[in-house]
Every structure is written in C-alpha cells, then in structure tokens.
C-alpha cells in the first residue's frame, strides 16, 4: 500500500529532492531555517542544506522577493517563502512589474526561474490580514504561472514542476490542509502544469474547484450521489496555464457547471473560468454556469461570521440540485 504523508511533508520532500538534484536551487524567507516556518513546513531542510541554501531573511518582503528576482536572472533558482498569502500585496511590484515582465521586455533574453510559495484560506480565525486567498491578483498578470495544489500528492508534484520551470511561479498552499494526509508515492513524479485533474467522473453536472474547494466539491458530489445526481469534479491544478479543454469537454458532456474558489467572488477566479465556459460551451449549457467564491467582505475574525464567508459542501450541493432540477437560481 502506498504510504500517506501530510501536505506539509509533501512540500518539504519536493523541495529537498529538487535541492539535492540542482545546486542552484536555494530557499529564502522569514524563519525558514531553524524554525522551519511557523507552519513547520520546511523543518529539517537547514540541517541538510545549511544556512547558505536555507536563508533566514529580515521582515522585508519586497526586498527579498527582489533579491530572488535578481538571483534568478543571473543563474540561481530561488524558492521564496512568503509566510502569508496576504503579504503578496507587499511584493506585487517585484512580482508583477519585475519578475513577470523580464522575459518579455528583454525580447526573450532574460529569464526569471523562481518560485514564490505562499498560502491562502480562511476559517483559521486569523482575521482580515491573514486569511485572504489572493490568487486572482497574480493570475491576471501575464508572465506569472499560478499553481493551486489540492492535496499532498498534488503539492509535491506541482512544487517540483514549479522549481524546474523557467518562469516565475506562484504556488498557493491551503493553510488548513498542511496536516491533511494523502497517498504519495516514494518514487519521483512531477505533475505538469496546465493539465487539469478529473477527480471524480460524473454525468449530470461539473464541479470545478481550486485548492481547498476541491475537497468541498468532492464532499458535495458525495451528498449529490446519495440523491442520484452524478457530479464530475475537476481540479484545474494550475489556473495559469488553465486547461480549458478538459473543463470544456466536461461541461459539454454534463451541460451544467459550478465553479468554486476561496478567493472573493467578484473579479475573482470563478469569473474567469465561468465566463470562458459560458463563452465556449454556450450551446451545450442547460443552465448558466454558477460561481461560488468567498463573500465580498474582508474576512471577519469572529467565528460566528467567518464561517459564513466560504462556500460549503452543503451550499454547493444545494445549488447543484437546483441546476439539475432546472430551477432558476437568479430570477431571470
């Protein structure tokens, strides 16, 4: 039987393997060395690779992301640890004006092979500045690839691919999933970017979920299965590049879809995916593609409020039920 490891261990293994394989890979961020990050994801790496390749930085997010860009442009392959996804705002210039555009602006001469690993996800009672899921922001910027692992298995394979990619890649891990276990082979494997994963086959409706929302979609599919509704669940794995073909094929088959993502709904990831499906599978749709993002509110601290802001399996199932029954969700 295949061993099971946590998402945290999976990320750790991926990085360790790539650091062994390629001496130009190094890691930097706040408290990544002895402390191994607050989530302990990187524990043990400094013992193996030393403080030259696992570098504790001051609390200077724009600064050390800038350093990573420069190191990447000149022959290293840095992995940057950004402790919370919410700090991505601080590094947007270095990420979006510098890293993302170098290759294009230089007519293909400069490359920036770097990985920014960070996280997303609410319901940890961490309040508005430590709970955001900001993947839509970076997905909008040409030149950046964006990966959203949904399990330990995915996290390892996507991280290894990211480290070998010659472009800036942003990986959002779900904070709440670090201790979740999944079967992960001992042997090396990579997961290619831009290839969606059909996690569950189905015929009546397509549920497309990113990261944390894959589990939500799978739970919803269970609920629906008990009622005789067959849901197909797809994990795009990377939102840039996006495997449009797999999503379209599924929706053309099922004629109905819900897109679920933990970022704010408005101007978020669900809008892009839904509008592509609507545009390109229009004549196959029996109902509008539905979007379920997080509420358009800063994440509240109070548990009584926070849990209301993120889509749940029950809500997904309820919407799927309506779509399949031909009920209108919006007065139209």
């Amino acid at each position: 039987m295949m061993r099971e490891i946590t998402l945290s261990q999976a990320v750790n293994e991926a990085i360790a393997e790539e650091m062994r394989r390629d001496a130009s890979v190094f890691l930097m961020g706040e408290d990544v060395a002895e402390a191994g990050t607050p989530f302990k994801v990187l524990s043990g790496l400094v013992e193996e690779f030393g403080t030259d390749r696992v570098i504790d930085t001051p609390i200077s997010e724009p600064g050390f992301v800038g350093l990573a860009v420069g190191a990447a442009m000149t022959g290293a392959r840095p992995i940057v640890d950004l402790m919370f996804g919410d700090f991505i705002y601080l590094v947007m210039d270095q990420l979006c004006n510098q890293a993302a555009k170098q290759h294009y602006m230089s007519g293909g001469k400069l490359t920036v092979p770097m990985v920014l690993r960070t996280n997303m996800g609410a319901t940890r009672r961490s309040a508005a500045q430590h709970s955001q899921s900001l993947q839509a922001l970076v997905a909008h910027i040409p030149g950046l690839k964006v990966a959203m692992p949904s399990s330990a298995y995915e996290a390892k394979g996507l991280m290894k691919t990211a480290i070998r990619d010659n472009n800036p890649v942003v990986i959002f891990e779900d904070k709440l999933m670090y201790q979740d276990r999944a079967p992960v082979p001992e042997e090396e494997y990579l997961i290619p970017f831009g290839v969606a994963n059909v996690q569950r086959k189905g015929t009546d409706i397509t549920l497309i979920g990113t990261s944390s929302m894959v589990q939500v979609a799978l739970s919803a599919a269970e609920i629906l299965a008990a009622e005789g509704i067959s849901a197909e669940v797809i994990d795009p794995r990377t939102i840039v590049p996006l495997d449009e073909a797999t999503l379209l094929n599924s929706v053309k088959k099922t004629s109905r879809a819900i897109v679920i993502d933990e970022g704010h709904q408005s101007y978020g990831v669900t809008a892009e995916i839904a509008s592509r499906l609507n545009e390109k599978a229009f004549y196959h749709l029996d109902a509008p593609v539905l979007r379920m993002g997080a509420m358009d509110v800063p994440v509240p601290f109070s548990p009584a409020l926070e849990d209301l802001t993120v889509p749940t399996p029950e809500q997904v199932a309820a919407n799927a039920r309506k779509l399949c029954a031909g009920e209108m969700i919006h007065a139209a």
Binding site: E30, D31, E34, A35, P38, D56, T57, P58, I59, S60, P62, G63, D86, F87, L90, R124, R125, S126, A127, A128, Q129, H130, M295, D296, V297, P298, P300, F301, S302, P303, A304, L305, L308, T309
Partner: protein, 325 residues
Amino acid sequence: MAKAKTNTEDYLRMYRQMVRIRTFEDNANQLYLSAKMPGLTHMYSGEEAVAVGICEALTDDDRITSTHRGHGHCVAKGAEFKAMFCELLGKAEGYCRGKGGSMHIADQSHGNLGANAIVGGSMGIATGSALRAKLQGADDVTVCFFGDGATAQGLMYEVMNMAALWSLPVIYACENNGYSEYTKTEEIAAGSITARAEAFGIEAHQIDGQDVLAVNDLTRKLVARARRGEGPFFMELMTYRYHGHHVGDINREYYRSKAEEKEWKENRDPIIRFRAHLVSEGIATEDELDAMNAEVERDAAEAVAYAEAAPYPDASEVDQHVFAA
C-alpha cells in the same frame, strides 16, 4: 494626563496600568490554553513599562498606532477590559464588534487607531495622523509603536523621510524585545537602529524600556517638543517579551535560553522594579499594592466571564461595514 508624573496619583496609575496589562495577558493566555479563544494571540507581558510609560504622557486626543502585540498599547491608552475580552472572543460587544479580534483591536474613543497584523503596516497611518494634525493646526501628537523586526520594512524609511522633511508631530517608538518571531535582532538588523533615524535628521534615543519612569519622563519631553513643531522623534526601547512569539510558541529553547528568560523576568521586570520603588519611596505599602493587584484581578475575571457569556454578532453583520455610508 500629560502633566509631570511626580505625584502619588500618577505613580499609582502607572503601576495599576502595568498590572492591568499583565493581568489581561494572563487571562488571555488562559483563554487560549483552555481553547476558549479563537485563533492565536501575542502576549505583551514583560513590555508593560513601554506602553504605560509612553501612553501616560499622552492625552486622549493624542493618537497611537499599535501592532500584532497590541493588548498592552490598548490597555495603556485607556481601553476597558470587557470590550477587549469580547473582541478577543469575537463577540458583538467587542471594540470592533468581534470583526477585528486580537490583531485588529482599535479604540477610537481613546485615540488608539488600531493594532495591525502587517508588521510595520501602521507606520504610514501614524505619520499620516501627524500630517493631519499639522495641516489642521491641531496640537495632538501621534505615537507609532512597532517592533525591532519592523525596522526591516522599507515603509519605515519612507515615512521617516517625510516626517523629517515636514517636521511632523510623530514619535516612532521601536520596542526592541530582542527578537522578531524566532530570530534574534542582531541576525536581521545591520548597523544601528537609532543611527537609521538619525540619518534622516531625526533625533533618536535609546532607552531602558523596563523603567517606566524613565520612559515616561523622556516621552513627556518629546511630546511637549513635538507639540511645538520640533518633531519627529525616535525612541528605541530595550525590552523583552516573556511569552513565546505567540501563545502557541511553547518550546523556544532552540532560539533563546531559559537562563536569558529568567534573567529578564527576575531581575529586570518592570512591575517588580516599579513596585519596589513605590514602596521604598513610601508612595504605597505592599498591602496597598496587593489590594490593587487583587482588584485588577477581580475586574479581569469579571470581564472574562462577561465576555464568555456575551453573544456573537448576528449573521446579518457579516456583510455590514464593508462600506461606510
């Protein structure tokens, strides 16, 4: 409040405020350990003389900005236990209706513009408050609290430059507790912290942050000068946090020794020191101070009980306050 703290009443209030902070934190820590508090929190214990020494030199019109380690600033600036504990528990009667929590607690009525979960994130806000004061001809002063770790944020240099260019009434109060998270200050800060402020032409002082009278005395002088347009100023206050970086940081020997912790707690504790001073100067007796401590403890226990029983905000509040009317 801003008059010289030379009389009994002022001294006793400073003592009381330090005890209130310590007691608040002990209760907050208990709430965490007994799994009654959602999320994490960062304890201010050990640093009381900084918040109290500074805030006792301010009026309610003066503003402060606070940090992730913000309970001490909040108490020192005049907040009540009940609304604070309610906030920590996410209850509707909290200072922010439970929406902010420990890391965003604010107390508008006493001039506390709020804790901030972005390290260094409030440096602009504090300096902007001072700019507003100058533009509107108000004589209030703003104190910006932040840690040694926050000196690594570029924002600090941007706002110090503007504060210096425009002589703004802001005081930068760097609480140097020797660590940012699990890393020693000397590993993340090159050169000298006070010299960084001085390079912008800002008068900077390094001071013992465990001596509440020294802190208060210096602050009163700087506040008075800032009111006269002689700001900005910079203070580096040498202090120590007794707990872990946050309440969950229990095993910390890999980054700092028990001996070091013991030394600070036993020989440099701001409350013990000030208490000894009060007794030796005849300002209060041990008994009087014990009674004060007991009263504060009762207050805190009552406030905790109140907060535990208090209702959560109604679900309908979830999308209220996104936009102001």
